[in-house]
């Protein structure tokens, strides 16, 4: 058999181990014509080397056998999401997604719509033949009212299944797309218009103008159960009534805004470099591991008090772990965090039995006091009524953290007042200087506040009892 070389197409199509030179499309199918137009456009515009086609699942699944360019074969419905990844990964390439109406209109609608809304830089060729072809002629979102399909055997009833989905019209509500048009391949005149529109989609991608979608009405004689001529007539006389042809938007000449400049770093090392970074922890068998729990209301500085102890421990090169309450818990009013400080690598990150418990309110005290380790110490704010006795062998210290902070005129510093208690009681196993240094460092962004808190810490230590 003599083969005619087709521009942009491979010379033969090795499917199922057979090397053939005809496509898999049924006689009279719109896909065959569209495939030819796409291949021609890609070749004539000299874009075969830089084009990446994202192929769909559906009747267009085998386009990778036909178009002579690189291909990525996507999951059903996901070609627009895949094309998003592709065009972001290869901004210099021309990325073209090819999707059918079940694929784009139903399972993958949101992926296509959101890609359009983001203004992804790929072109989407969307073939609308009013039904699912490959899977056996079922109803698609684009099926016409009254149209018979294998899942609307009595005709599509809008009372039960709604009305045909107008993809171009819906996408026209979005700001980002630069080109939205609907064409048809039902007769020669329409095919010539479709050819120009397809070239336009490629041109927009070559020029990196932005997102373009071209809907193409296509006959499906097999599933329409018509001969090719009747199927083409159906396309023109019935489908076009519902889906009028035309250009919905052409803003290819518009200036797209450039992304705003953001600070750039030369390398990971430069990005993550820290001034005064601390040395790694070292092992010290002589240091007895301590487990801390801090609890109270959100806004009382509970998490930062825990962080302050953790940072002091790091200053002394202890192994350190900090863990906060999180999720709805952190938004529900109560806050707690755990800190583990050790002379050896830390095993369990949880604080089942605190050596030190710091409580700023009653629920916190009552929730955790029973867990204390024998020999441990509980520091509670004096506003907490002690209705539950601590376990035997646990020291209870009542401390006027909230009152002192108010008296100093800095009510937010109640946590610093608690730090003063911990320092005074010597219950952290850490040096006083480390605690102070860590406190000051926690106000890195507001150094004046850091010094102020150091003063408050010292005052509170003297004053509190």
């Amino acid at each position: 058999m003599k083969t005619i070389e087709q521009k942009g197409m491979y010379k033969s199509f090795p499917r199922s181990g057979k090397d053939v030179s005809f496509t898999h499309y049924c006689p009279g199918c719109g896909h065959g014509i569209i495939n030819k137009l796409i291949a021609e456009a890609c070749a004539e515009m000299g874009l075969q080397d830089e084009t990446i086609f994202v192929d769909p699942v559906g009747c267009g699944v085998f386009t990778y056998y036909y178009w002579d360019a690189a291909h990525i074969s996507a999951a059903h419905g996901r070609a627009s999401a895949v094309a998003t990844g592709t065009c972001r990964a290869r901004p210099n390439a021309v990325t073209i997604a090819y999707q059918g109406d079940g694929d784009l209109g139903a399972i993958g609608f949101n992926n296509a719509f959101q890609a359009a809304s983001r203004g992804e830089k790929f072109g989407c060729i969307f073939v609308n033949n009013s039904l699912y072809g490959m899977t056996g002629g079922q109803m698609a979102p684009t099926t016409l009212a009254g149209e018979s399909t294998t899942t609307t055997p009595f005709g599509r009833d809008p009372a039960l299944t709604g009305y045909p989905l107008h993809v171009c019209e819906v996408f026209s509500q979005l700001k980002a797309p630069v080109y939205i048009a609907r064409v048809s391949v039902a007769d020669t005149r329409r095919i010539m218009q479709a050819k120009q529109a397809i070239r336009k989609v490629f041109e927009i991608q070559r020029a990196k103008k932005g997102y373009a979608i071209l809907e193409i009405l296509a006959p499906c004689p097999t599933n329409f159960k018509m001969d090719p001529a009747a199927a083409a007539d159906f396309c023109i006389n019935e489908m076009e009534k519902e889906f009028p042809l035309g250009v919905f938007r052409d803003e290819t000449e518009r200036e797209n805004p450039a992304p705003a400049a953001i600070p750039q770093a030369e390398s990971c090392a430069a990005l993550f470099a820290e001034k005064d970074a601390l040395e790694p922890a070292c092992d010290d068998d002589a240091f007895a591991e301590r487990r801390f729990k801090f609890a109270g209301y959100g806004g009382q500085g509970i998490l930062s008090l825990g962080l302050c102890i953790a940072e002091a421990a790091r200053l002394e090169r202890r192994h350190t772990l900090w863990f906060p309450s999180y999720g709805p818990e952190q938004r529900g009013g109560s806050a707690n965090c755990s800190v583990v400080v050790s002379g050896k690598p830390i095993g369990s990150p949880t604080v089942e039995h605190p050596d030190v418990l710091v409580c700023m309110n009653r629920p916190a005290y009552e929730r955790f006091v029973g867990d204390m380790r024998e020999g441990g110490i509980v520091i509670v704010d004096e506003t907490v009524p002690i209705l539950v006795e601590p376990p035997k062998g646990v020291k209870l210290v009542v401390w006027p953290a909230i009152r002192m902070a108010e008296e100093f005129g800095v009510p937010k510093a109640a946590n610093t007042m608690m730090l003063a208690a911990m320092k005074k009681l010597g219950c952290t196993g850490l040096k006083g200087e480390s605690l102070e240094e860590s406190l000051v460092a926690s106000f890195k962004k507001k150094p004046a506040l850091g010094e102020k808190n150091r003063e408050l810490l010292r005052e509170a230590e003297k004053k509190g009892s």
Binding site: A70, H71, S73, A81, N111, F272, R314, F323, G327, T350
Partner: protein, 353 residues
């Protein structure tokens, strides 16, 4: 130099050091800090961050980026991980390198945002359709959240199957010191198979479809041979295991509880040791067998027993049927954590001590 960071932040840093070029993600607690860090740091290094419309989109965007020859990642938690399974199967089927981080929360369904290890089966056994496997790593510290994310990229590039970094809510949220390395991974060249939009890659085709049954079977056999070879990269860690009479097995956060439990038992004169798998697939079967023979074995986990069953399976496959039959599990679920007290008690009961 050390930094004090959350596990979730360490993951982003690891990805950047590893040369990950694109991040695609959808927010979900307790993994969201990974997206936050990526949104800030990827663009600062001239790399790409895209907030996807759903997890299905995230994983398919990764497919598109990987298909075009670039390393990319996403991070999620249980419900999002479920949504990604179809896409992970496609990535495996098309042999594309990509990294998915699952910061496990409690399930099933909406569950809650607290730590569980209950996504073990989909994270370790291939949760989507078809006979595929992922390379699954289980960090146990902030340092490992970094190190194993880097490793995940190295392994996904080497084996061309998706790598899963399988963490939990606790590890994502906790802060520890992180030591950053001097350099990351070398840049990979995937132009041999990727569709990059270049003259060299014009003939390339990325796909997971084999219409012919014989071709599909040949491809599946190739995948299975590849997965078998991955065993060479299995990693595990033994601690105090040499003279142990009881071996406590746990991964991730449970591995750390195992460590403290063993230390507590040793203080009471019980010879306890730990084995912590670092890769869950490939499972470090030989390493486990080397320290498990003749010992009583206790598995610690935050699920309903998926891990203990895998320990039994691996012991049995290593010829340690008696040890497998004797595995005792101690577990918590729902966001509760196994306490060292309970683990010590169970271990003593096992030993009749």
């Amino acid at each position: 130099m050390t930094k004090f960071v959350k596990g979730n932040e360490a993951v982003v840093m690891g990805a950047l050091y590893a040369g990950c070029e694109l991040y695609f993600g959808y927010p979900i607690t307790p993994a969201s800090e990974i997206a936050h860090g990526a949104a800030k740091w990827f663009p600062m290094l001239g790399r790409t961050f895209v907030q996807a419309e759903c997890e299905t989109a995230s994983v398919n965007m990764m497919f598109g980026a990987a298909g075009a020859g670039k390393l990319s990642m996403t991070a999620t938690s249980g419900p999002g991980f479920s949504l990604m399974q179809e896409g992970i199967s496609y990535l495996a089927g098309a042999e594309l390198p990509s990294v998915v981080v699952n910061v496990n929360r409690a399930g099933p369904g909406l569950g809650n945002v607290y730590p569980e290890q209950s996504d073990y089966t989909p994270a370790v056994k291939g949760g989507g359709h078809g006979s595929y496997q992922t390379f699954t790593l289980a960090p146990a510290s902030v340092q490992e959240m970094f190190d194993l994310t880097v490793k995940a990229f190295a392994m996904t590039a080497k084996w061309r199957t998706p790598a899963i970094v399988f963490a939990d809510g606790l590890q994502g949220q906790m802060m520890e010191s992180l030591v950053l390395p001097d350099s990351g991974l070398p840049k990979y060249d995937f132009s041999e198979w990727a569709s990059e939009g270049t003259p060299k890659t014009r003939a390339n085709l990325v796909k997971s479809i084999y219409l012919d049954a014989a071709q599909q079977e040949r491809f599946n056999r190739h995948l299975q041979e590849k997965y078998a070879a991955m065993a060479a990269d299995a990693m595990g860690e033994a601690y105090l295991a040499d003279d142990a009479e009881i071996l406590i097995v746990g991964y991730g956060i449970s591995g750390r509880i195992a460590r403290t439990t063993a230390e507590a038992l040793r203080k009471e004169g019980v010879k306890a040791g730990v084995f912590r798998p670092i890769t869950l697939n490939p499972f470090p079967r030989e390493q486990l067998a080397a320290v498990a023979a003749g010992r009583k074995i206790m598995a610690i986990e935050l699920d309903a027993g998926q891990f203990a069953d895998d320990v039994r399976l691996n012991l049995a496959k290593a010829g340690l049927g008696a040890e497998a039959a004797g595995v005792v599990m101690i577990n918590r679920m729902g966001g509760e954590i196994v306490s060292v007290d309970d683990a010590v008690k169970t271990a003593k009961e096992m030993l009749g001590a």
